[in-house]
Amino acid sequence: MKIYLEKTNEYKDVEASTVKELLAKLKINPTTVIVIKNNELVSEDDKVSNKDEIKLLSVISGG
């Protein structure tokens, strides 16, 4: 499935069945992002499929 990474403004292709697995495959630390599935915030245990639109938003802002 295609995942949009807001921080770097790019798409990555990953196969995963849960948010946790998806983040692990992308080597992204779960404390540094929130995950948006079909415009809804989801927890790391949420299931994902190829039909879902997934966005990762970085939680880091200031300097």
Partner: protein, 307 residues
């Protein structure tokens, strides 16, 4: 997995526990935690004139919204938002545009002060000649303006959007750099000695993680894009932040533990530095409070900005 309170679909797992919460329960949890911090640490008192340091980012926007909501009906308390425009192209200009609209919609007075008007150059211009770490000079200039402008606006408190991650980073940074004296000025409300030239800073988001604040800002519909300052990755703080986040992923609760241990030590640190602290100096050039003869801002103005 379901929400701990109501069996609805969870949107978040709290960072330092195995608790899952749905959208409504998380928003309630978040707001309750802010109110509890304000009450436990007496952050707000009768007749306070509160200046909220805002930037258009998730932390200060959430803070602004919550203080306005919590203090609704308190006629004795005044709140004004101030923002510092450092002059960071494609970053601060965008967030300030958002902030102006947000303040208008929430009926909060907003005052913006810029480096360009106050010091003669924007941060982008300063960085053309200054080759040090951007956050070092930017942090000094920003804190200087926030304190100075808060005094001019007769503030009794300066509220900032610092969250648990920010504070844990500061504690570790000060420890790594042998700056424990500076840590004595941290905590949910700052200050060791009372001085009319220092406005006490309050941090109502103190016990909420950066991830929780981001989730709150998203769920409340404040924003769906969270931009990072382009200078942030070069900072010492940025490296400490990455290190703590790595630890947090491996050992959940690390950042909370740093804060809770620090809060146990803080009264001892304050007491120690209250008795042993040198008298507060006032800068020979601008009369702002500082630890040496001349404040860092005036030194930067002479050695970097006026070049």
């Amino acid at each position: 997995m379901v929400c701990k309170n109501c069996q609805e679909r969870p949107v978040i797992k709290l960072t330092n526990s195995n608790i899952y919460l749905c959208k409504n329960c998380f928003i309630k949890y978040f707001e309750k935690k802010v109110k509890k911090t304000i009450s436990d640490y007496k952050l707000i008192e009768k007749n306070d004139n509160i200046i909220i340091a805002t930037s258009g980012g998730k932390d200060s926007t959430s803070l602004l919204y919550l203080l306005k909501k919590i203090l609704k009906g308190r006629k004795d308390i005044k709140i004004i938002a101030i923002a510092i425009d450092e002059g960071i192209h494609n970053y601060r200009d965008k967030s300030l545009e958002f902030l102006k609209i947000f303040c208008q919609e929430h009926e909060v007075e907003l005052k913006i002060f810029s480096y360009k008007e106050e010091f003669g150059k924007s941060l982008d211009e300063i960085l053309k000649t200054y080759k040090g770490i951007p956050c070092s000079i930017c942090g000094v200039l920003r804190r200087y303006l926030l304190n100075k402008k808060s005094k001019e606006l007769k503030a009794t408190k300066l509220a900032t959007g610092h969250n648990l991650d920010d504070e844990a980073q500061s504690i570790v940074m000060n420890y790594f750099k042998n700056n424990i004296k500076i840590s004595a000025r941290l905590g949910p409300i700052t200050g060791i000695k009372k001085d009319e030239k220092f406005i006490p800073r309050i941090k109502p988001l103190y016990f909420l993680t950066e991830k929780e604040v981001t989730a709150y800002a998203f769920l409340k519909g404040f924003m769906d894009k969270f931009n990072e300052c382009p200078n942030s990755p070069y900072s010492y703080r940025g490296q400490i932040r990455d290190m703590l986040n790595d630890f947090e992923a491996k050992y959940p609760g690390t950042k909370h533990s740093i804060i809770m241990s620090f809060l146990e030590l803080l009264p001892v640190l304050k007491e120690n530095y209250r008795n042993n602290l040198h008298a507060i100096n006032y800068c020979v050039s601008c009369s702002e409070p500082c630890s040496q003869k001349e404040c860092k801002t005036c030194k930067y103005i002479k050695t970097v900005i006026k070049l």
